[in-house]
Structures are given as structure tokens and as C-alpha cells.
Symmetry: C2
Subunit: 344 residues, 2 copies
DNA sequence: TTGACAAATGATAGCGCTAACATTAGTGTT
DNA sequence: AACACTAATGTTAGCGCTATCATTTGTCAA
């Protein structure tokens, strides 16, 4: 059981190790941080002392003295969202076995909240920062300009990253999906969108672009909400869409959650997918591609983006300026499946 | 664009704020950390100065001086898993607007890795720790015994928490679900399990208990894997089960992902759910309850557990010993739906 | 052997904050 | 008015580490 006090227990410090090893504190510090600067004899003595005392450095003291911590900040707009869950996973996998930590900040799609989180994170003297997209506030952008660490903006692409960026073109992805629906012979295209953040907006624009070019744009067949995306929301939006325009014959969903909702609601209403209704999702999550029928979607390299973003940061920490391609477009891939495979 | 250097930029310090406000540094510190100890006049002056300078405290310096950081460690076995994603969300929601941070450690279902993460986390002098379950290594348990901070073990229940605990009885939950299947008239019950961690094992035991008591246990109708859970894995396990025992008429799935996989594979094979096959999931995630047919599941308060765990920690930080119920069973709820609503 | 240089090590100071104690201002009692 | 007390504020020292510069030791050419 536990005492009610939570008193800190003393751990050995650098000087303890130094005394044990018969060297100065700074030599111990160097043995840990840059062993190549220390003679083999000293190194062995110090390593033995560290092992004997069970020493581990205090990250707070280190951060204070060196003005840089081992924390890498990751600012995401949502933790619920599949997209960011995958990114987070990639980042964590990439950080494993390094001396760094990840600290996640959830700014809930609020640029202002992002700005404040950024301010707080910067006070920690992070070793690196990963941000979502390019839509920071002016003040946040200003802070980023002279951020004291490598920085990657992820998920989106843009002409002017603050430092580095990796993502893909959401508008073009939606264009590709929309063209696919037209090619499959659908003519009355609808669009469902939840949580209309900047990237969702870009997809929406892409959809409208292609519809307009094909002379098939009907704004009544567009239903969006600012509320979070979910399967139930997909059902609700689909119901709303049917109420307005029952003649819709294909739907581009802003993400796979919505697409699943549309599919299950269609099954309930006995609407045949893909013959009466084509459904295309976005992101290509595991569940959607295992539905019956399997849902057509745009595969996006979310995990990979997280993984590569963290690698860019680690590379820059090791050797500033070493990352050659500082603005990477990793692309996307339309994966046609049964849910849009209409019989001609 | 960016210079290649990442030089740290000076931010205002406590003394800067103190000078601006015409008070001493410690008064500024107190205004931030315990405003009730400061007169209203000083407080207003200090707050104005903070706002003017855009000051935010340096957590490293604070941690070093006070021997306790504002970091709360959260050790989870997986980031992919829906279960822990919801817990994480609850924790983040509970921490919002406080001065604390969450730092997640992913130990990938390895107790040894958990132990090493714990060691590293403890060096940060965390303000609190949240662990998953009770299955720590001996060494980890020893470290926990004299952890210098409040500590909550979550998701499971057990007789002897290291400090505090909140969770529910997985074995009993599985018993309840299994009884439900029997009550619905199913007689040849199967069990599918992936990622058999200690809590999955407990559910598995619960299933076997009830089947055995009812004289309906057939080990051939149990298929498990150590690989991660997913919808595709649900399909695979279901296929394996059908290959062994095609007569199975109901399946308890270790979680909803598997259940969805079973359902979609059943649809592919034209097996009627619930009449030919009953399906019961676990966790009651949004997608499962929106399938067609809707999937019966055991609702577990994952978000709530995260939320309450963090609150227990915050309460203990504010007032050690103030949390009265230090070992909470938050229960579960069977939610019968169409996927087990067999016609009699 | 000497000097020139690099490699290895150390002494000192200080990062920005808070704990602990010291002092001053304010409030009420007799 | 003098005293006792609390509330508010300040002074001092130091948390554990690393940057900086100074010193010592080792290495090699002339």
C-alpha cells in the first residue's frame, strides 16, 4: 500500500557518479552526451560508476542548462479522428529507441488553441515540432518563424513551409475521386462532409471543381456539418441529403466513417450499392475496405507521414540542414472497389 | 524561410515580469502557482505584466527547483486499439485547462518495455502516473511502491492497487455476454480473440466458465491469435473457425473490430445474422452499433475511465489522501441488439 | 629536448525557477 | 497605544546539469 505523502526519493546525481568514478562532473556529462570526446579509460570508469549507482540523468536539469529538451511536440487537431491516430502511431514508432519523447497537444480544430499550445510547447524548448497543415494564426506563424528547433508541417502541401513539410494535395485527391464517380457512370453526385477543417474544405473544393467542369454541379446535393465525423453522422447526413435530393446516385464522403454510415443506412433502406448508389470514402481505413460491399476510397499515407515527419526532425537535429527535400508531396491513391463498381 | 541554425530565442523570464510589475520574482511565481496567497492588487499588476510580455513559465526550471514536473505519464499497451484511444481522449479532456501535460508511453503489450518506460518517466519527476492493468513486472512494481506521485491503474480491477485503480471486471463482462447468447437460444458458442493480453485472457476465461457450467463448452470452437485485432483479422479468425467447426451458431468476439469482420464475412457467405449466427462484440464502439444489423456488444466506459483516472490524480495532487474511493469498479453494460435477436 | 599543436580534463558560472526562512504591512484586542 | 497575531511580500540559496573558457596531458616534428 501507499503512504499519503508522495515524497520524492533521492536519486544519484552527476556529482555522485563523478565522485564514484574519480573524475569531474563534466566528464560524466560528456561520457553520456558525446562519448567520443572522452578517453577510453575515463569512459570505462564512468560507465561502471553509472551502472553501480543506477544513475539516469535528470531531463529537467539538462533542459535548463542546455536550453533544449528531449521533447518533440506534436500538435494535432483531434485525437478521435482516425487520420491523426495513424499519424500519432507513425510518430511514436519513429521515436522509439531514441532519447526523445513525444508530447501531443490536441487543439480541437481551433487555430487559437493551437497558437496557445504552441506558446506553451515552445517554453519547453522542444527538440522538434510537428504541426498539422498550414493554417496557423498570424501570431503562431510569427512564433514558428524563429522557432528554435526543426519543424514539420504535416498532412497538407503548400508553397511555403515554415521550415519543412510533408503531406499530399487534398483538392487533387477529391478531384480524382470525383472523376472516378463520373467515369463509373454516375451523374447525380452528392457530397457529405463533417468537421469542415481546411483540408476537408480543400476536398470539397475539388469535388465542386470537377462537378462544375462536367456540368453536373448541384449545390443541393451537398450536405456538410461542423460537428465531428462519425458513422452515425454519416447516416444522419445521408438522411438529410435524401430528404433534399432523393435522386442522388453517388456520394463522395469526406472520410470513411461517413461512407460506412451511408452504406449501412442504404442497406436499411434497401438502396442497392453500387447499382442505385455509388459510395466513395476517403482515407481507406481497414474497416471500410472490409465492408460488404467493400468501399471505394482514397488511400492516404497517414502512418507514413507521421513516420517520415519524425525522421525529418531527427535528421535535422543530428545535422541541421541535412534534410534535402524539405517540402514533400507523398501523394494518395484512389482504390476502386465494389461500392462504385456499377454495372454498365 | 528558415536559417539552418535553430538558435534559441530569448523569452521573458520571471524576473522580467517581476520588474515590469514592480514586484519580486517570487510574487510572480506565487501569482501563477497559488494566487490565493497574493493580494488582489499585486495579482492584477502581475497578470497585466504577464499578458504584456507574453510570459509563460519554463517547465524545466520549475521542475528542477520544485522536484516535481507538470508531466503526467500515461503508459498504454497500444495506440492503435480503440480502447486506449478512448482512454487517451478522456485523459486529454480531463487535463485541459490545467497546468499539466500528458506524456504517453506506448509499451506495445510488453511488460519489460513498460518497466523501462516507467524508469525513464520517473526520472522526469512526474506529477502523476496512469498505468494499464495490474500486470507489471516485479521490478516495475517495486518502482511503483515508492513512486513520488499519485498513481492510477486503469481498465482492470484487482484487490491490491499500488495506489489507486479504476476499471471493470472483464471476466464478469464476458460471463454476462455469454449468458446472453445462451438465453437467446444459441447452443454452439464460439469465441474469437486477438491480441490476448491479460484483460482479453480474463474475458476468455469468463466465456469458458459459463459455457462449461452450461455443459456447452467445445474448445474447438475457440480461435485466438496473438496478432493485433482488426476487422480483417475478424474475418480471418471467423474463416478459421468455420473451417474447424462449421456448426457454430453464435460467436463472442473479444472486441468489436473482430465482430464487424465476422459480420461482413457472414454477409459474404450468405450466413443469416442473427438467425443462423449470433454475433456479440465487446466495447460497443460507434461503428459496431451502426452496422446493419446492429451488433450486440458490451459497452465499456473507456472514455470515462480515462477522464476519472486523471481526475483522481488531479485531486490527489491538490490534496494528498483526498480521494476516498481508491479502487473503483465502474462496471459495464450489455447492450442487446439485432445481431443476437434470434427469432424463437 | 624543445616547441607547437591537439586531445583530454577541469573550474567556474549560471540556466529560471521555487523552498525556506526573514521581514514588513495590516488587523484586531486589551 | 502597545501588543499579538496573520497576511503579504521579499531575500537568499540552490535544484542538477551544461557552456565556456582555462588548464593539463599527450603526441609528434624539428
Amino acid at each position: 500500500m501507499k503512504k499519503g505523502s508522495y515524497s520524492p526519493t533521492a536519486s544519484p546525481t552527476l556529482s555522485d557518479v563523478a565522485r564514484e568514478a574519480g573524475v569531474s562532473a563534466i566528464t560524466v556529462s560528456r561520457t553520456i552526451r558525446s562519448p567520443e570526446k572522452v578517453s577510453k579509460a575515463s569512459r570505462l570508469k564512468v560507465e561502471a560508476a553509472i551502472a553501480k549507482l543506477g544513475y539516469a540523468p535528470d531531463p529537467a536539469a539538462s533542459a535548463l542548462a542546455s536550453k533544449t529538451s528531449t521533447t518533440i511536440g506534436l500538435l494535432v487537431p483531434s485525437l478521435t479522428n482516425n487520420v491523426f491516430a495513424d499519424v500519432v502511431r507513425g510518430v511514436y514508432d519513429g521515436i522509439e529507441e531514441t532519447r526523445f519523447f513525444v508530447q501531443i497537444g490536441n487543439f480541437r480544430y481551433s487555430a487559437l488553441k493551437e497558437q496557445e499550445l504552441l506558446r506553451v510547447f515552445l517554453r519547453q524548448k522542444p527538440a522538434g515540432l510537428i504541426l498539422s497543415g498550414f493554417d496557423q494564426t498570424q501570431e503562431a506563424t510569427r512564433m514558428l518563424k524563429n522557432a528554435p528547433c526543426p519543424l514539420v508541417q504535416i498532412m497538407d502541401i503548400g508553397p511555403q513551409p515554415a521550415d519543412m513539410a510533408i503531406g499530399f494535395d487534398h483538392k487533387e485527391a477529391a478531384r480524382t475521386a470525383t472523376r472516378h464517380l463520373l467515369e463509373q457512370g454516375y451523374t447525380k453526385l452528392g457530397f457529405l462532409g463533417a468537421r469542415m477543417d481546411p483540408r476537408s474544405q480543400a476536398r470539397y473544393e475539388g469535388f465542386k471543381d470537377v462537378c462544375k467542369d462536367a456540368g453536373k454541379l448541384d449545390e443541393k446535393r451537398i450536405v456538410t456539418t461542423l460537428q465531428p465525423s462519425s458513422v452515425s453522422m454519416g447516416r444522419q447526413l445521408f438522411e438529410a441529403l435524401l430528404a433534399k435530393t432523393p435522386d442522388v446516385d453517388a456520394i463522395l464522403c469526406n472520410n470513411d466513417d461517413l461512407a460506412i454510415g451511408v452504406l449501412t443506412e442504404a442497406q436499411r433502406r434497401n438502396i442497392q450499392v453500387p447499382d442505385d448508389l455509388g459510395i466513395c470514402g476517403f482515407n481507406d481505413i481497414d474497416i471500410a475496405r472490409n465492408m460488404m460491399p467493400e468501399i471505394t476510397s482514397v488511400a492516404t499515407p497517414r502512418y507514413d507521414i507521421g513516420r517520415r515527419a519524425i525522421q525529418m526532425i531527427l535528421d535535422e537535429i543530428a545535422e541541421p540542414g541535412s534534410v534535402a527535400d524539405r517540402n514533400q508531396d507523398v501523394g494518395f491513391e484512389l482504390v476502386p472497389r465494389q461500392s462504385t463498381a456499377r454495372r454498365r
